[in-house]
Symmetry: C2
Subunit: 457 residues, 2 copies
Amino acid sequence: MLRNILVLGAGKSTSYLLDYFLEKSNTEKLHLTIGDINPNAIPKTVKDHPNCTVIHLDILNNEHREKAIKDSDIVVSMLPARFHIMVAEDCVTLKKNLVTASYVSTEIKALHQSVKEAGLVFMNEIGLDPGVDHMSAMQIIDNIREQGGKMLLFESFTGGLVAPESDNNLWNYKFTWNPRNVVLAGQGGAAKFIQEGSYKYIPYHKLFRRTEFFEIEGYGRFEGYANRDSLNYRDAYGLQDVLTLYRGTMRRVGFSKAWNMFVQLGMTDDGYTIENSKGMSYREYTNLFLPYSPTDSVELKLRHYLKIDQDDSKWEMLCELNLFDGKKTIPMENATPAQVLQLILEDSWTLDDDDKDMIVMYHKFGYELNGKKSQIDSNMVVIGENRTHTAMAKTVGLPVAIATVLILNGKITTPGVQIPITKEVYDPILAELKDYGITFKEYEVPYLGYNPDAVGN
Amino acid sequence: MLRNILVLGAGKSTSYLLDYFLEKSNTEKLHLTIGDINPNAIPKTVKDHPNCTVIHLDILNNEHREKAIKDSDIVVSMLPARFHIMVAEDCVTLKKNLVTASYVSTEIKALHQSVKEAGLVFMNEIGLDPGVDHMSAMQIIDNIREQGGKMLLFESFTGGLVAPESDNNLWNYKFTWNPRNVVLAGQGGAAKFIQEGSYKYIPYHKLFRRTEFFEIEGYGRFEGYANRDSLNYRDAYGLQDVLTLYRGTMRRVGFSKAWNMFVQLGMTDDGYTIENSKGMSYREYTNLFLPYSPTDSVELKLRHYLKIDQDDSKWEMLCELNLFDGKKTIPMENATPAQVLQLILEDSWTLDDDDKDMIVMYHKFGYELNGKKSQIDSNMVVIGENRTHTAMAKTVGLPVAIATVLILNGKITTPGVQIPITKEVYDPILAELKDYGITFKEYEVPYLGYNPDAVGN
């Protein structure tokens, strides 16, 4: 008898997820049911697979949703995060396990006790970031601890970028995920982390100037800027006493310093709408943020305002985006500056059909073992196949899919609302991910920390 | 028979207000009742005046509040703005006129129809800013229009500063009003204004670098930075078609550029609390916002981070505030950066007993009359007497007091929730303010606007 997996939401990040279930459907005896509001968008190869059923499902229709969940053996929700709670509540009532790639919300967390008492597994944050980062970090951290080591430093950076072979713009960047999240990244509060035992805070308008650099063998140099709250997983990872805790986002070198121009101008602001945005040219939009002058050009005003020298490559980066174009116009009414910036960037940073994306992840683990300080750097690079089978869809979808089958097969059994930070979860998943080319390289490097000689301050 | 004026809240801005009522109490037949939660703080000369009664009043006690309002002929609320609505609702029910110096809130505005139907006058925004700014601006604007002129430009700036004779710090600034509002000034959204028909937006982190300069005869140079929304009174003033509309805050030259250091560091942020703030030294606080270094001093890190040259006077301005002091400590637990900055500034910027404050206001009116463009600049300077009888208390309290008596005497009669922008209100009040030395000087200057030759862009 087939086990029925219900996947809710078949958006662009689900290509590898659906393929995995269907490829395993005979050996693992799986039937896949996909519930989506727009089933037409699901590829024919998926829809027509003998072990697949597609149903039109409006997630807000309680009767239909409950029926679909009732008919399943396990539920995978790839819906936008705000819909998870309805699904989760049904799963408690109908006693179904649940898998999502999203952050654990307060509402989901509140279900922990009832999920546990029902003996159910609600596995969350099991995509890329969060997901692969948790698993790959905890495997090494647990290993260091098992040997008797004490953690001193943990840093972790992830980036969704364009692959070198498709990298043909000055920003070395294209959108591989939700563009709106990229435009708004870092907003909503100061970044917070710990370095050598000192708390550090960076306001948004300085965030993109406080980068660190990394080298990945074969891929060159990258940079990282801090996430909002690096201390989020301090307790979950058991790193309460660590001296340095820093999490961030990776970009190609030079991106952040150039992005900072948008921040300084105020173009990333999503808090107000521009008067008469509709029909405004890109040039007029740029001029909104510059002092008035009856004679000086928008170009010179911007160069002067942001102190961009004649020979600064940031200038070419702006020109490449057509920010000074007087003909291209904004189609939206009452748009915020951030919405317009997103539109302008999408003109230039959208993946072409045969473009490949690239996921990079970089961890640093500093620790003390037998009186000696050491450091392990580990990194992962995954290149996508094309615009549908992206590295992003692969690294998000496969951990979700593998976890789902492991739960079905009774290999992951610890009940409750959880994230993938225990051996039971990360060992089998990381092992299977290797078969798909999702692997980490580890390097033993000298431990430097930020204070090798333990000087004051 | 005496008319009973009820003043609710006798805080530090009410010295001139109370004195005015008592000085006029015999000629105008006034009795003053002061309701305050802490009557002990009211000066003896006020309390012991034969025409004054002081009552202990908890504004949240409905019975006591209603009784006090019922016994009065007119109510003046000098309470924190959030309490006005309770008082206003009682005033509607009990049919009493009301005067406040606060901005018209949405709730108060919603009472307009019932206030109007009851034939009552609710006069708001009749302090300094808002207040004197409305009246002095509208008197000139109405006058220009009466002559057939068309407004082209309106700019208005106000500042609460320290008088030249008490100005003994490098910032040329001391707190003359709520220090918290000074620390948070400009936050909560981009500044918005119009220059020569073009909308302009300035994000918070650039606000203090986009200043304008003014000269006031006998007082030297000042600078102004934009208020959050310069377009707030566009409709009320009838300036829908004006080319330039800009409202702002005045400081001594150099203040804003130096204040920008706090903004850049992130010290004005009120959105998160600092871990272990209690007992932290001023030096450690400063270091929270700087990159970690095992060897470099906090001083050098800050100079490098903010690009402060060896000979830049901004450096002395920071040192004067003891920002690098390792002995002075923060007494508050879980303080926000802004709360700590306020504490540090209060150490240095609190008025001494015999210090005098200074209020400055500067308006520019550009207009076209009979085919000719002209401009009037008008400014006001008021110097305080001491720390109690401040220029701030005078310029806030006297317009409130004068308006109250005018309403009592039936000279201001237009019913409804209103602000002082009509002749009926501003003419008699501005005339009487002159007797107290609150006067504007007017200068006819060439109209330059921002675009004297009407060049494009």
